[in-house]
């Protein structure tokens, strides 16, 4: 044994790690990367801005009483007639862009998160059903997934909007339809790996009820990859919603998301009034990049094979 000093020293550490909860380990591994910390701080700021929009915005951008057309299309840093400063300028209706962006973030984030959660539930159910039931159910579900994933998300979303018509609920429906297939595929492959393990054989031999097998064994093992996909998909959903709104096919004007703000500024861009489009775009970019940074690190810490 004395020939193996390394292993002897490593052992207490290994047992120490075993008593730690998986969540604790993930949290500990997560903060090892400065870029990931930067990402999560950025994301927290974005989420806070979205949640606190009514309290931190200089004005309520959709209360027409607070808007003054005389203040329209002012440059960033201009003084308002009422006294305040429009740090990011105003749009064509004299709306403070900073406030509009906070409110826009709120809408963009909630639509992105809502559609992701719904899609996650559907995809999880479908993926588990495919993996657990197998046979024809699996073939059918996975065929639909394959066909759907061979088309770009934007195309499917546009088809649905074209068929269903416009509106907040329909946009969310389109986003859900676009996303569920990613989860179904991820969950199924994770569940299949788990299903082939020996203890699953044992669980079946013990005649454990299917619900127990699915929820106690399959589901927990599918969660890590699913969470990673979900993080990436929130960003994708936000970007897709923004694109649809920019094209005028997304959320209605009563729900001005970042995409709509950018679209509003489009016509003024050519006359050099860049800020109406530019700043909402930056907000969108920061949101997406911060989510992607977090997702990148999550992917690394949740994948046990990648652990160094």
């Amino acid at each position: 044994m004395s020939a193996l000093p390394d292993t002897v020293i490593v052992e207490p550490l290994a047992t120490g790690a075993a008593t730690e909860t998986p969540l604790g380990r993930i949290a500990r591994d997560f903060v090892t990367n400065p870029i990931a910390i930067f990402g999560i701080v950025l994301l927290l700021l974005v989420v806070l801005a979205a949640i606190l929009a009514p309290f931190i915005s200089p004005q309520n951008p959709y209360d027409l009483a607070q808007l003054d057309v005389m203040d329209s299309r002012l440059e960033p840093g201009s003084k308002a007639l009422t006294g305040g400063t429009y740090w990011l300028g105003t749009d064509d209706q004299g709306r403070d862009m900073l406030s509009a962006i906070f409110y826009g973030l709120r809408i963009s984030l909630s639509v992105g998160v809502a559609s992701t959660v719904l899609a996650l539930l559907i995809g999880l159910t479908m993926g588990l059903a495919a993996a657990y039931l197998g046979g024809r159910v699996e073939t059918l579900i996975m065929r639909i997934v394959d066909i759907q994933l061979s088309f770009p998300a934007i195309l499917i979303a546009l088809i649905l909007i074209a068929v269903l018509g416009q509106g907040t609920g329909k946009v969310i429906a389109a986003l859900v339809t676009v996303q569920w297939a990613y989860y179904a595929r991820t969950v199924r492959s994770a569940a299949l790996v788990e299903k082939r393990k020996e203890y699953m054989e044992a669980a079946r031999c013990l005649a454990l009820p299917p619900s127990r097998i699915v929820f106690k064994h399959l589901l927990p093992n599918c969660l890590p990859p699913t969470i990673v996909v979900a993080t990436v998909q929130v960003a994708a959903a936000i970007a897709l919603e923004a694109t649809l709104s920019f094209l005028g096919l997304g959320l209605p004007i009563t729900e001005p998301s970042l995409g709509l703000l950018i679209a509003n500024g489009y016509q003024y861009l050519l006359s050099g009034k860049y800020w109406i489009s530019f700043f909402p775009g930056v907000a969108l970019l920061v949101t997406i990049v911060s989510i992607n940074l977090v997702a990148d690190q999550l992917r690394d810490v949740m994948n046990p094979r990648l652990q160094k």
């Binding site: 004395s2 020939a3 193996l4 390394d6």
Partner: protein, 321 residues
């Protein structure tokens, strides 16, 4: 005897990893005479493959040759420029690798992979290069070489692929071939064929061979000289009869004892206790002492290579009788 084709002196190849310095090759010296086969024997991780790569100038960062000389026909190849090194590789010194399934590029035809090895070193016409490739294939015992030249690697069996690799190594009539466990990945019957083929070809061409292996039985039938490596160092050197017939280092003894054929039927197989030590920050002293039943307190001092009898030398304070 004439000047040896290869003389390696105090070669050191270290890997500078984040965890520390790995001394993969540490003070290795040996000589390979013209037309001779030298068996370089050791367990995996003993540094034998890294010695081979060092000779070829194929050590990649974080690895680096940090000391010693590699004299090929009297010229130190460590001092060669990148381009001179490239001209040497595959021309004066060729190398064959372990897994023939992986060494040939799967998406290039055999003729492409052979002809490029020729034209990398000399100016020949396409037709001549093609003819040379075909001749090389037939020399290693591949039937209908003309047809096989236009095949892809996956259309060959493992043994056939290794023959192709050998043919490629022989294309430019090298003075030295480094064979890094070329039979390990093959079936036993194929192993025998390849061994036979190599022996025959090297005799015909007069090329010297460094045969890197962990398999002592291969060395016994093939090698003129044997060097045994342990933890990045050569621990015993001599002719095949000396080293295999009367090993003087406890490690070599242990290796020989753990070959099943050398044990009496029904007797318990002998083994060397413990594992090869990690080469990362290896402590001073004899690296084998933790596993050695002859170890004494002075083994904490690093032993030097010392000659015992004519041609046989050993790195041990307490060589076996």
């Amino acid at each position: 005897m004439s000047e040896p084709v290869l003389r390696v002196e105090e070669l050191r190849t270290h890997f500078f990893t984040k965890a520390g310095v790995v001394k993969a090759v540490d003070d290795v010296s040996f000589i390979v005479n013209r037309g001779e086969v030298m068996g370089l024997v050791g367990e995996s991780g003993s540094g034998k493959s890294m010695t081979g790569y060092s000779l070829m100038g194929l050590i990649d960062p974080p690895g680096r040759i940090v000391g010693g000389r590699i004299l090929l026909d009297g010229i130190d190849v460590i001092k060669l420029s990148g381009e001179e090194m490239r001209q040497m590789r595959g021309n004066r010194v060729a190398m064959i690798f372990q897994d023939p399934m992986m060494t040939l590029n799967p998406v290039l035809r055999i003729d492409t992979q052979m002809i490029e090895a020729i034209v990398a070193h000399r100016k020949v016409s396409a037709g001549d290069a093609h003819a040379m490739a075909a001749a090389a294939l037939s020399k290693v015992g591949i039937p209908s070489p003309e047809e096989r030249l236009s095949a892809y690697p996956h259309q060959f069996s493992g043994g056939m692929r290794q023959r192709v690799a050998i043919a490629i190594a022989l294309l430019n009539k090298p003075d030295l071939i480094i064979a890094d466990e070329p039979t390990t990945a093959l079936d036993v019957t194929i192993q025998g064929q390849i061994l036979y083929e190599m022996q025959k070809l090297t005799r015909e061409t007069g090329a010297a061979v460094i045969w890197i292996t962990h398999d002592l039985s291969v060395v016994a039938g093939l090698a003129d000289q044997v060097s045994v490596m342990y933890a990045g160092r050569i621990v015993e050197q001599g002719t095949a009869e000396q080293v295999l017939g009367r090993p003087r280092h406890p490690y070599t003894r242990g290796l020989l004892d753990s070959v099943p054929a050398n044990n009496a039927r029904g007797a318990r197989l002998k083994q060397i206790p413990g594992m090869t030590p990690s080469l990362l920050d290896l402590p001073p002293g004899c690296p084998f002492r933790e596993r050695c039943s002859y170890a004494q307190s002075d083994c904490a001092r690093t032993p030097l290579m010392r000659p015992l009898t004519a041609g046989q030398s050993v790195r041990c304070h307490h060589p076996l009788a």
